[in-house]
Assembly symmetry: C2
Homo-oligomer: 335 residues x 2
């Protein structure tokens, strides 16, 4: 199958006029009779002629496309961010071009190049959790393409971003565990190199400190890894654990599975709070208490900031931090 796209030249040949006549007729310019213009428009339509959008956008320096880089869509959180972004781009008449990085540095770099090559008018991006090399984002900024980061902050990158207050959200969750009687609280921490892991752990440690409770290194376990079950069982064997604050709902679910194997009563013996309010939080029983992030709003605000930068051609760095909500369900006790 060969690409066959009708060109202005083809239309000109059919009517025996110059390509310039066709072009002027279709662009509503120049000294052309209405009759001829109608004839040309009709012919263009019949032959499925579409103006060369790329060539056009090279002149206008606009494509009305926005690049969106997200790690993946298996977490519903990123779906809700997408919905928030689309609520703005759709209304503005822009199209989203989405690339996923699978948290891989290489795919993240390639996606940035693809966006620049496609001449997108701006980029919204969540940095993958494996990347501490940020040159691809620096190149986007150097290129003059507006960039707004979502969800995860890259401290070294001088650009606009929208995040949630992960520190406060985590602090509040751990404070609730303490208020409901927990005194030996584990933290299941997230992947290295991402700001959300750092901030959620900080909320945990600061809540302990504020309540005069000792921070113990052995009470912080790394989630989502092969040895997790062994690690958790070891600390449960040794210490009278009565609370767990997990980096994500999925990590919390892993904890619940292991506690079920040990026939631990939730929340009577151990309380659990997850993070993000993923759908699974309501599917499992008991339903999971969790810290709900305003994912839709994150996407919406990030898109609004991006359009402000595009439309006002401003160099201003705009940052926004949104609040979380503690959602109490069946895995925690009352205070």
């Amino acid at each position: 199958m060969e690409k066959k796209r009708v060109s202005i030249r083809d239309l000109a040949a059919i009517l025996g006029v110059t390509p310039s006549t066709i072009s002027r007729a279709l662009n509503g310019q120049g000294n052309i009779s209405e009759k001829r213009r109608e004839q040309i428009t009709k012919l263009a339509k019949e032959h499925g002629y579409r103006p060369n959008h790329i060539a056009k956008s090279m002149v206008a320096n606009k494509t009305f496309n926005i690049g969106l880089l997200l790690p993946e869509f298996t977490h519903n959180y990123f779906n809700k961010i997408l919905a928030g972004i689309e609520s703005v781009t759709y209304q503005k008449g822009y199209q989203l071009l989405i690339c996923t990085s699978d948290e891989l540095q290489e795919k993240e770099e390639k996606s940035c190049l693809t966006f620049l090559d496609a001449r997108v008018d701006g980029i919204l991006a969540t940095a993958g959790n494996s990347s501490d090399d940020l040159r691809h984002f620096e190149n986007v900024l150097k290129d003059g393409t507006p960039l707004v980061l979502l969800d995860r902050i890259c401290e070294d990158l001088n650009t606009s971003y929208v995040v949630t207050d992960d520190f406060e959200g985590s602090f509040e969750a751990v404070q609730y565990l303490i208020d409901s009687g927990c005194s030996n609280i584990l933290h299941i921490k997230g992947p290295d190199y991402i700001s959300t892991s750092f901030n959620r752990k900080l909320g945990y440690t600061e809540a302990l400190k504020k309540n005069g409770m000792e921070y113990r290194e052995e009470f912080v376990l790394k989630g989502d890894q092969k040895a997790f079950e062994k690690d958790l069982n070891a600390v449960l064997d040794k210490h009278p654990i009565d609370g767990v604050f997990a980096f994500s709902d999925y990590y919390a679910y892993d904890v619940i599975q292991i506690l079920n194997h040990r026939a631990v009563k939730i929340p009577d013996e151990i309380s659990i709070i997850g993070y993000a309010d993923e759908p699974l939080a309501q599917y499992i029983s008991p339903q999971l208490s969790t810290v709900k992030q305003p994912a839709y709003e994150i996407g919406k605000h990030a898109a609004e900031i991006l359009f402000k930068i595009i439309e006002e051609k401003t160099d201003e760095i705009i940052t926004k931090q949104l609040k979380t909500t503690l959602v109490l369900r069946g895995t925690t006790k009352g205070t």
Copy 2:
């Protein structure tokens, strides 16, 4: 913020040579000394020069981009399809540009135009469930851009596709319900206008017929709508229902919630089988029996077919139908 991109002209001005010298040096052509070539390459690198990919691809008639149109990502099914596609495109060195239609005709049409304007080398698409107007896909084919459909067939469209055998998958599920003792089986049907709804309902009716059971119109309810709870309660009040075959796991979950309100014992009093094996099927208790679709393989095969068409420039229509697997869990009895 203004776009500033270093051009060949800029580099030429810095070194006091012609743009053509710069171009020949960077493209490894022409009669240029190694020393000069090195000097130019170094300068280009320092100034972050990237060849104008769009202009280049207009000449090569290739962008190494594939357009992917999916309805949404809230169903994990589409995530797995994406992973399958990426396993092929990534290895081939192609980049995916993703657009979501939210099952809206208008967004589907716009996405097709965006893909054509971006000069993608091919398109993979799942038709939204609201579209019976297929002109946008016809235009893609007219344009000469290879198109492979995924998951849902559009009978009137003469193009390649990969689907699962929904008829067989549904037939097998209903046969299992009958074999395990169910004789009054409801079907919760899917949205109109998509082939999967049609085929799953057909599997249900044919299984009843083969077993000499009467097909009753009032045993087929439309899922995912306001009156569903009322509709289901009405039929449960009137008939001794003992089995449910649902169009999707989410529909099955809705049924389970309503049955829980009525204190119906699952599977002792009513057996339930869903469709797709979404993550929720394993999160709920009892875990949901379901028809598992090979989503990853659908994506992989569709991408492979697309590359065959692109690389061999063939007009051949290639179709593939993959088998489902019945996964038995806690919502069904043994036979």
